[in-house]
């Protein structure tokens, strides 16, 4: 029995196992007589411990404790002053009031503006119609107003007895006039042309574009232990082939073990895995971290083989480490996370395959801003020859040093141009919850 298996059985005694661990423990006890004997012995010890007689305190300590306290004048030591800020009640109130004030102000302003605009429109319409009224009076909705001319304007007008003179006709004498009437138009109702609600149903209705269900990509879950079955293997390959950028999440009980396994399998496939120093540090310190692996050196079939080989090797252990594989469509958020983890922009990452031309190589040294690195980067000729490499980084928001990571810079130096049949692979090894 390995120490890990022994620990698993100890935890089983205490009932502190997760569902997966409990399954493993059960399997272990069923398959190994040694494990079964060990488990039963531990269980017996635990039962014996529980059965030990309880011993009550031989004397009542309350009196002696109180006596000691009073005799020695012991008092509770005042707690050290805590610099606890008083909750400032007026903060939220002031904030709420200012928000309210702002909303009121803005809405008043908008209301005023809209009113002014409407009034302006109304006046424009009024002016326009007052001109057209004399020419045409066929508009359907009209109201009549008696408009008398203000006195101050009357003063400016020529005297009423002065008759205008037209050269050809001589003096024009006014005809008896009707009271001056101006017709004001109300706003005309809008005319809706070609609106789907008002226009008749005709052949113009656009065709409904059928949803291509076969083109929809959903997240798929594969239990690691089931992946060795032919049907599951075929499904997995089909899923991988459907993606232009492959996004996998591999859940393992121990990310460190999962990474070791991946490294070995990648090596057997001729791909060397470079690990970022930050991720290495975290793994060494045994700090819980998920690991992101990125490579452009594998075809869809090779990715498929990579996963299957990992599962195969893992299944040879009595306690398997790999749990579930998740294939999800590659989203914008994944791209952001990938760029953040690798410390590059999406243009630098350049996920599009090159067609004959060379991929613009942007060495990461440029990001550091030092003259030497810029000179180095500029003097360096872009390497077109792709090496089968993969990079592993910590998939953690704490990973802020990706831009200055030497390993990532070396990776981007070595990766060269990507072939069209080598989809980028973003694989995250995660710890099972």
């Amino acid at each position: 029995m390995t120490p890990k298996e022994r620990e698993l059985l100890t935890l089983a005694i205490d009932g502190e196992l997760s569902a997966t661990e409990a399954r493993q423990a059960r399997r272990l006890v069923q398959n190994s007589p040694e494990a079964k004997a060990f488990y039963l012995a531990l269980k017996k010890d635990s039962a014996l411990l529980r059965r030990l007689k309880t011993t009550n305190c031989p004397v009542d300590l309350s009196a002696s404790v109180i006596k000691q306290i009073t005799d020695n004048s012991i008092t509770p030591i005042p707690a050290p002053p805590t610099h606890k800020r008083r909750p400032r009640v007026w903060y939220p109130l002031a904030l709420a009031a200012s928000v309210l004030l702002f909303i009121t102000g803005v809405s008043t302003l908008i209301f005023d503006q809209s009113r002014t605009k409407e009034a302006g429109q109304g006046e424009a319409i009024l002016a326009k119609n007052s001109i057209t009224t004399s020419r045409s009076s066929t508009k359907p909705i009209r109201t009549t107003h008696d408009l008398s001319i203000p006195e101050d304007i009357v003063k400016l007008l020529p005297p009423t007895d002065a008759h205008p003179t037209i050269p050809e006709r001589g003096v024009v004498v006014d005809q008896p006039t009707q009271p001056l009437a101006v017709e004001v138009l109300a706003i005309q109702p809008r005319e809706l042309k070609d609106h789907p609600l008002t226009s008749p149903i005709g052949p113009e209705i656009p065709d409904i574009i059928p949803v291509g269900l076969d083109r929809l990509k959903l997240t798929k879950f594969f239990e690691a232990s089931q992946l060795l079955k032919d049907s599951e293997r075929a499904k997995l390959l089909e899923e991988i082939k459907r993606d232009k950028i492959v996004r996998l999440d591999l859940f393992a009980h121990s990310t460190t073990k999962g990474l070791d396994l991946l490294q070995n399998v990648l090596k057997s496939q001729g791909v060397s895995l470079m690990m970022d120093s930050f991720a290495q540090d975290r793994l060494k310190k045994n700090q819980a971290t998920d690991i992101l692996i990125y490579t452009e050196s594998l075809t869809a079939e090779q990715i498929h083989n990579l996963i299957l080989n990992m599962v195969k090797v893992d299944s040879q252990n009595s306690i398997t480490n790999l749990d579930t594989l998740v294939i999800a469509p590659f989203q914008k958020v994944d791209l952001d996370k990938l760029c953040q983890s690798l410390g590059v922009s999406s243009s630098q990452l350049n996920l599009q395959p090159t067609k004959g031309g060379t991929k613009p190589s942007t060495p990461l040294g440029l990001e550091q801003g030092t003259a030497n690195s810029i000179a180095h980067a500029l003097s360096k000729s872009p390497s077109n020859k792709a090496e089968p490499v993969a990079i592993g980084v910590s998939y953690s928001p704490l990973n802020l040093n990706a831009r200055s990571s030497k390993e990532i810079a070396v990776y981007f130096d070595k990766r060269g141009e990507r072939k069209a049949d080598h989809p980028p692979l973003m694989l995250v090894i995660r710890a099972t919850p």
Binding site: R6, E7, T10, L11, I13, D14, E16, F38, A41, L42, D45, S46, L48, L49, R50, R51, L52, K53, T54, T55, N56, C57, P58, V59, D60, L61, S62, A63, S64, V65, I66, Q68, I69, T70, I74, T75, P76, I77, P78, A79, P80
Partner: protein
């Protein structure tokens, strides 16, 4: 936190020292039983428990009330017991001193001889487990007592001993394996 405990603590902090007597009475048996298994000596256990109560009384102002009072009290008592046990290092139990065969030298209670054989066997196994427990390191003993005798969960043990839960797991594992080895050795000697 328990309402009675809360009321008692507030009374004590308001100057009514006698209210602390209620807390002592309430927890003394449970605490004594657990501490006795750690220090393996009645006098030492009494001393540790009494000192723990006085220490708790003195530090009552720093008890925040976000955990159970007895959890806090256990933390004080177990830390005191473990440090006392460390000081004394390998000290033979006065209650159950073992001879070279690992058997108790304490005079046997004659009444047990009249009991059926299974009763005697049970007492023998109790003594064996007690002896094995007393041979464990104090840290290992403490976690086993808290787990098996007191029935605490790993999280509670971590809180009482103020250690990470991972440490609790590994300590309990090592304690169980060590206990098994000691018991096997004792059984082989017989």
């Amino acid at each position: 936190m328990n309402a009675d405990d809360r009321r008692c603590i507030s009374e004590v902090l308001n100057g009514r020292t006698e209210a602390f007597g209620f807390l002592v009475k309430k927890y003394q048996d449970r605490l004594y039983n657990a501490i006795l298994r750690v220090v393996d000596n009645r006098e030492d256990a009494l001393d540790v428990v009494q000192e723990s109560f006085i220490h708790a009384y003195q530090s009552l102002n720093s008890f925040k009330g976000d955990a159970e009072f007895f959890t806090w009290l256990y933390r004080i008592a177990f830390n005191a017991a473990i440090s006392q046990k460390r000081k004394r290092k390998v000290q033979l139990s006065l209650d159950l001193p073992a001879n070279e065969n690992g058997r108790s030298q304490e005079p046997e209670d004659q009444s047990t001889l009249n009991q059926p054989s299974d009763r005697i066997e049970q007492e023998e196994s109790d003594q064996r487990i007690h002896l094995a427990l007393s041979r464990l390191a104090p840290e290992h003993r403490a976690v086993l007592i808290l787990k098996d005798l007191e029935g605490h969960r790993y999280e509670e043990i971590a809180e009482i001993l103020d250690i990470p839960i991972g440490t609790v797991r590994s300590r309990i594992h090592r304690a169980r394996v060590e206990l098994r080895e000691i018991i096997e050795a004792l059984e082989n000697k017989q």
